[in-house]
């Protein structure tokens, strides 16, 4: 487990963003009694996994994903889930100052010692990028001595080439059940992936999937900031 924290703030735009990259780490903190707030910006309204034949409609999907998000938080042990009411795929088109204000308000209210979000420019999805930019900007405006730690998830194809290897590597073997349950909670999005994992095991694969062995993060590098100022 990583170092003790007073309060954790997780900021991602989509239900299921928390499941893949950080649910093991969060489950460890939850078990240790660390308060965790998860600000999830959208309900993944534009998710494309509707099945064929379809199991739902474009209009019903957000209701399904909201329930999945709540179930995932329960599996992880997150007690404070904030659904921020933005719409999937539109985050980058929101007013940039208002986005920073949303993050600043959360930080002022919660006084987190650690924030987990995406790494700007290495987060692939435009919503991920917009979320990461807003969080980094809000933290940058704080006096250096007051800033919480910032662990960022990066998975763009050029991540290791440009950022090197992640500096935070967390062994999550002890919470693989919790992580599996978080991923299962998002079954509308992860069903195909979990099926593939089952098949892999049936075919005799013994190596553990690295989702269930460790999670890794990059500490945000303000000395190599993604922009000069905002």
């Amino acid at each position: 487990m990583l170092q003790p924290e007073r309060q954790i703030l997780v900021v991602f735009p989509h239900p299921d963003d928390e499941a893949f990259g950080v649910s093991g780490t969060l489950a460890q903190y939850a078990k240790a009694g660390t308060p965790i707030t998860y600000a999830c910006l959208t309900l993944g309204e534009m998710g494309r996994n509707l099945g064929n034949p379809p199991f739902t409609t474009r209009e019903e999907l957000p209701l399904i994903r909201k329930k999945e998000l709540q179930a995932s938080c329960e599996a992880i042990g997150i007690k404070d889930l904030r659904m921020m009411g933005l719409r999937d795929k539109t985050v980058e088109f929101e007013d940039d100052e208002e986005m920073v204000a949303m993050m600043t308000n959360l930080i002022e209210e919660l006084n987190p010692s650690l924030i987990i979000t995406f790494y700007p420019n290495y987060a692939v999805h435009p919503d991920h990028e917009a979320t990461a930019r807003a969080v980094i900007r809000a933290v940058r405006r704080m006096p250096e001595s007051d800033r919480p730690r910032l662990y960022c998830v990066a998975f763009a194809n050029n991540t290791v080439a440009e950022l090197g290897n992640p500096d935070i590597i967390n062994d999550i073997h002890d919470v693989r059940e919790e992580k599996m349950n978080s991923m299962r909670a998002h079954i509308s999005q992860t069903g195909w992936m979990l099926q593939e994992e089952e098949k892999r095991k049936e075919e005799g694969a013994t190596a553990e999937n690295n989702w269930f062995t460790n999670e890794h993060f990059y500490s945000y590098r303000f000395d190599e900031d993604f922009e000069d100022s905002f």
């Binding site: 996994n49 099945g51 064929n52 034949p53 379809p54 474009r58 795929k89 692939v124 999805h125 763009a156």
Partner: protein, 117 residues
């Protein structure tokens, strides 16, 4: 949703003609398309709660279907790749194209009341 029944869908399209209706239209190959394959040129479009009025709506017989709406002001709305449809419990005509991979490729929806946010 059920797979397109031409007569049923045509009747539903007719029932929204010559009324002010809100539409939702989206087409996408996914935000991750060029992450998984750098050769994919990623394009898509999304409009929601745009008020239109059409005088003629038509669904074509070939599968996947095309749906065209001829607007009263000379404009057009057009969607290609429609496989499924339903009239939902709020009387909205939902049409969608679900790809071979189980992912939504296109959606066209028509409603007399605005879509929720």
């Amino acid at each position: 949703m059920e797979t397109v029944n031409l007569q049923k869908l045509q009747d539903l399209l007719n029932s929204f003609a010559n009324k002010d209706v809100y539409i939702h239209l989206e087409t996408t190959n996914g935000a991750y398309a060029s992450h998984f394959d750098e050769k994919v040129f990623n394009a898509g479009t999304f409009i929601r709660n745009v008020l239109i009025r059409y005088e003629l709506g038509k669904v074509t017989p070939d599968v996947p279907h095309r749906v065209g709406l001829k607007l009263s002001n000379g404009g057009w709305v057009y969607a290609q790749g429609i496989t499924h449809f339903e009239l939902d419990d709020q009387n909205r005509l939902l049409m969608a194209g679900h790809g071979y991979d189980g992912k939504l490729a296109i959606a066209l929806e028509i409603s007399e009341t605005p879509f929720a946010y």
